[in-house]
């Protein structure tokens, strides 16, 4: 019996499609979270280095709070705890379907699970992204800014054209690592009922009892997504090296 449950007949197409749908949700949520946490992380990193004491302290507190508590507990709090603090009307509005119309294109309103998962994951991931971007900004040597100043450049152009590109170059590899974490962390959203890849694998497993296959396919999908991000990173690094070589030649 053990052997049949391990391998057995291949999964029916219908169940593979469930897993593909799960993958689709995982990718969508991860993308949304990656974009949102990068933008927010940027903003917070700038505030963090603003030099205004209160602001710096606030950002540091945010980072410490969200980094040092488990994502699962945060998601439970957002999903099960927060609604009790909101009014009944607000909950009704959030849970009923709306149609979002953007320039004539109608988007369906995401489910409450999807909203909370995106919100919770963004709040968590931002705390990590802030630190990566801050490290990137700190990694740009001071003399770069000073020489630009000596050339008579204004503060904003200095930041935009001198500091930022270099900071991004330093921060990109760890940022890609954070994006991988976002994909993996999105699996925890199954605990709040989001139908993503891990949830789908559990569902297929409980419907077909083909535990091995359900988990194997889901695992493969995760590895695939991570591999794509890794490939993007490698491509980028390769381009950078090529650029550096080209610059070396012209110099």
């Amino acid at each position: 019996m053990t052997v049949t449950s391990l391998f057995g007949e291949p999964l029916a197409t219908q169940y593979v499609l469930w897993l593909v749908d799960g993958l689709d949700m995982t990718v969508r949520v991860s993308l949304a979270v990656a974009v949102a946490s990068t933008l927010l992380g940027f903003l917070l990193a700038l505030l963090r280095i603003s030099g205004v004491r209160v602001v710096t302290l606030l950002v540091a507190t945010y980072v410490a709070l969200f980094r040092n508590t488990p994502l699962l507990v945060q998601l439970f709090f957002w999903y099960f705890g927060l609604p009790g603090l909101l009014s009944d009307d607000a909950m009704l509005w959030l849970n009923s379907p709306h149609v979002l119309s953007v320039g004539g294109v109608e988007l369906s309103w995401p489910s409450f699970e999807c909203l909370v998962a995106t919100l919770g994951l963004t709040a968590y991931s931002t705390a990590f992204v802030v630190e990566e971007i801050r490290a990137g900004l700190r990694g740009v040597p001071d003399h770069q800014r000073l020489s630009a100043e000596a050339l008579g450049m204004q503060p904003w152009p200095i930041f935009r054209y001198v500091v930022l590109p270099q900071a991004l170059r330093i921060a990109l590899p760890p940022l890609l690592g954070q994006y991988m974490n976002i994909v993996k962390n999105s699996s925890l959203a199954m605990a709040i009922g989001l139908v993503e890849l891990s949830y789908a694998s559990r569902q297929v497993e409980s419907e077909t009892f083909k535990t091995f296959q359900a988990f194997a396919i889901a695992t493969l999908f995760y590895i695939l997504v991570i591999a794509v991000i890794e490939a993007v990173g490698q491509c980028w690094a390769w381009q950078q090296r090529a650029k550096a070589r080209a610059m070396g030649k012209t110099a």
Partner: protein, 241 residues
Amino acid sequence: MLGLAAAGESPGDGEDGMNFQIIVDNLPYLLWGAFPEGPLGGAALTLVLSVVSSVAAGALGLLLGIALALATGNVHRLLVLVLGFFRAIPVLMLIFWTYFLLPVALGIDVPGLLSVACALSLIGGAYLAHAVYAGIAGIRRAQWDAGLALGLSRVQVLRYIILPQSLRMMLPSFINQWVSLIKDSSLAYIVGVPELSFVAAQVNSRLMIYPAEIFLFVGAIYFVICSALDVLASLVSRRLA
């Protein structure tokens, strides 16, 4: 004025305010589970689970990192691939694997606590291996050459010259990984290991109407544990520096 005063009285017993009395009532269960009558649980089990997995992850990371630094060619590539697998798979997925499929595949029974510790140490170890490898690679080539010129073997150079220097650089990676490990131990709830998140969910199901209070409190406990580790780390690194 009178109206205000009257309105001011209601929040105390209303549904809107937070009720932290329920935390006080359930504190022992949240902190150490059914112990001593039953098995250890709650925050105490989270600590045990974290310490065991941290030590295992650290040892595994050190071992594999050194292997990565010493191995060449196909062995190196194979190691990178295996480590890549553990870095690419979500902790939750690996817990499913170790809990449900290891016993079927190997014919041995792995208790819940051990399978979670196993998953956490494998993932933590895979991350730390790369940190250790990077730390070793970060030491200048000249140091190796100097050691070898003194007549030391490669292992001796590694043990007495390279590792002492690189470990200091790796400390932040280790601390970071241990903090994630403590947080990830919360995923043990999915296979019924009665650590802090699991007992919190149990208490939440019994009381039903205080999820905000319970999860805030549980978050606070994790925060204290993780922050304590952070503080400890900065103390240690100051001693080392």
